[in-house]
């Protein structure tokens, strides 16, 4: 319907964004009626998200014309930003930023490099940056979930952990169940994504490829490839981050460190 009133795509986009704003504000209003006061956070997040994505879109117009090595730089910056976001969510974990950066760079980085080398990701910036950003964003979420879960497990299981240490067990053995729980927690959302793929949701990348004229079957397969990469990156990130935080949870004399408990 909106297309009837706006011939220019930019104007149409702004109109669509406005409608979305109204819908989102309606959701905030409904939540408010239920006593859930997230008005400020929601409105700030909506405006911030809109400005950020439009800015990125504008920058990409120029960057896509730039040299392909620039995409490595962009992905590196994205990893730094992702580590910062994940570290904020894992508050209370000592060294959360460094752990998150190594986890995301290790997990997402390996997958992006490997898949680009194999030719599964087009090395041109127009493809590498969007696909890479999906992989990094997912790794960021898994990282934050895994770190938070590990911290919560350590906090609630201090007695069992110290009972194990007091029996002369190695810290790695004592916390093995909590490492497993944390890695699992980081991966479960991605497993659910794979399970629901094509049934509950048809992801945007596939929809975009079909709209752009790609063969629907190839678009579907490529979407699976991307979701598979996301899954692999999340799994690797969860493992790397959890093992790194486990290393920081104990002192050289194998004592539980307070920085993880608090």
């Amino acid at each position: 319907m909106l297309a009837r009133f706006f011939a220019d795509t930019l104007q149409l986009g702004v109109a669509q964004a406005m409608v979305t704003f109204v819908l989102a504000l309606a959701a905030v209003y409904v939540a408010r009626r239920q006593g859930i006061h997230l008005e400020r956070e929601s409105i700030v997040a909506l405006i911030r998200g809109f400005i950020q994505i439009v800015l990125v879109g504008s920058i990409l117009v120029f960057l896509f014309r730039g040299p392909s090595w620039a995409s490595v730089f962009i992905l590196f910056l994205m990893m730094l930003a992702a580590a910062g976001t994940a570290a904020r969510r894992a508050r209370g974990v000592s060294g959360a930023f460094v752990i998150s950066f190594y986890g995301i760079a290790g997990g997402a980085g390996i997958v992006i490099v490997l898949m680009t080398w194999l030719g599964a990701i087009d090395p041109r910036m127009a493809s590498l940056v969007p696909v890479g950003s999906m992989v990094i964003a997912s790794a960021m979420n898994s990282n934050a979930i895994a770190l938070e879960r590990f911290r919560a497990e350590m906090k609630s299981q201090v007695g069992y952990i110290e009972a194990g240490l007091a029996l002369g067990a190695a810290p790695d053995r004592v916390v093995a169940p909590y490492v497993q729980a944390a890695v699992g927690a980081g991966m479960i959302p991605r497993i659910d994504t794979l399970r629901a793929l094509g049934i509950v949701w048809i992801p945007g990348l596939m929809a975009g490829m079909i709209l752009a004229g790609s063969d629907p079957v190839y678009a579907a397969i490529y979407q699976f490839v991307v979701v598979g990469m996301v899954f692999a990156a999340s799994g690797l990130t969860s493992v790397i981050s959890t093992l790194l935080i486990r290393g920081r949870a104990f002192s050289p004399a194998e004592q539980l460190q307070l920085s993880v408990q608090e």
């Binding site: 240490l165 029996l167 002369g168 067990a169 004399a253 004592q255």
Partner: protein, 235 residues
């Protein structure tokens, strides 16, 4: 505390703390504690709540790190002993049993398995017999009473073959009848195995029943060390 001069005196001293101190956020939890514990001695650490009893015991098992002073096991600086070996030699029983999910046998085998030793079935049976729980090996720990769980916890600590037993208020979470049962068990096992034992308790009557000597702590400092027979005179 008197320190021995000769070699035989040194060998008799199993555990010695030398100006042991732990300060956390400006507060001394353990303050300049110097103690000598002889082989086979049963010492009660008594004092009001927050006097540093548990903090002292945790330092001896090296669950926490001292900020000053030192500990010597058989005159060896305890920082020279690998932490896992130290914790096996000085077995600690916590206030709560903290049994790992699974069977009683699996819990008993946990410590030895940590250093690659497979605890034989007959040893598990013997340990359960000693703690008054014969035939409990296959029982799931979730089905145990509080007193039974603490007995299993004691057996689990003993499975490591410790020379020193560090008991942190082992009966405080139990009802009175279980408390007396566990107390008797501790006395019997410590006597039979000729273990050196430090028991933290806030109950002076319990200290008299179990220990030969009581060390009284106040605000992290040792304020008295007396035979329990003279406990009424302890400050």
């Amino acid at each position: 505390m008197p320190e021995g001069d000769g070699t035989s005196e040194r060998l008799r001293t199993v555990l010695r703390t030398d100006h042991l101190t732990r300060v956390v956020e400006g507060r001394a939890l353990v303050d300049d504690v110097s103690l000598s514990i002889e082989r086979g001695e049963v010492v009660a650490i008594v004092g009001p709540s927050g006097s540093g009893k548990t903090s002292l015991l945790r330092l001896l098992n090296r669950l926490d790190e001292p900020t000053g002073g030192n500990v010597f096991y058989e005159e060896q600086d305890y920082r020279e002993i690998p932490p896992r070996e130290l914790r096996r030699r000085a077995g600690m029983l916590l206030q709560q049993p903290y049994l790992f999910p699974g069977t009683v046998s699996a819990n008993l085998a946990y410590g030895p398995a940590s250093h690659g030793e497979n605890l034989p079935e007959d040893v598990i049976s013997d340990l359960l017999q000693q703690v008054g729980l014969p035939g409990y090996g296959d029982r799931d720990v979730s089905r145990l009473s509080g007193g039974e769980a603490q007995r299993v916890s004691l057996a689990r600590t003993l499975a490591n073959g410790p020379e020193v037993l560090l008991l942190d208020e082992p009966t405080s979470a139990l009802d009175e009848s279980s408390q007396l049962g566990v107390e008797e068990l501790i006395c019997r096992i410590v006597g039979e195995r000729q273990l050196t034992c430090l028991i933290v308790t806030h109950d002076r009557a319990q200290a008299v029943r179990i220990a030969g000597r009581a060390v009284v702590l106040e605000a992290g400092r040792v304020v008295d060390s007396v035979p329990t027979s003279e406990m009424k005179h302890a400050r």
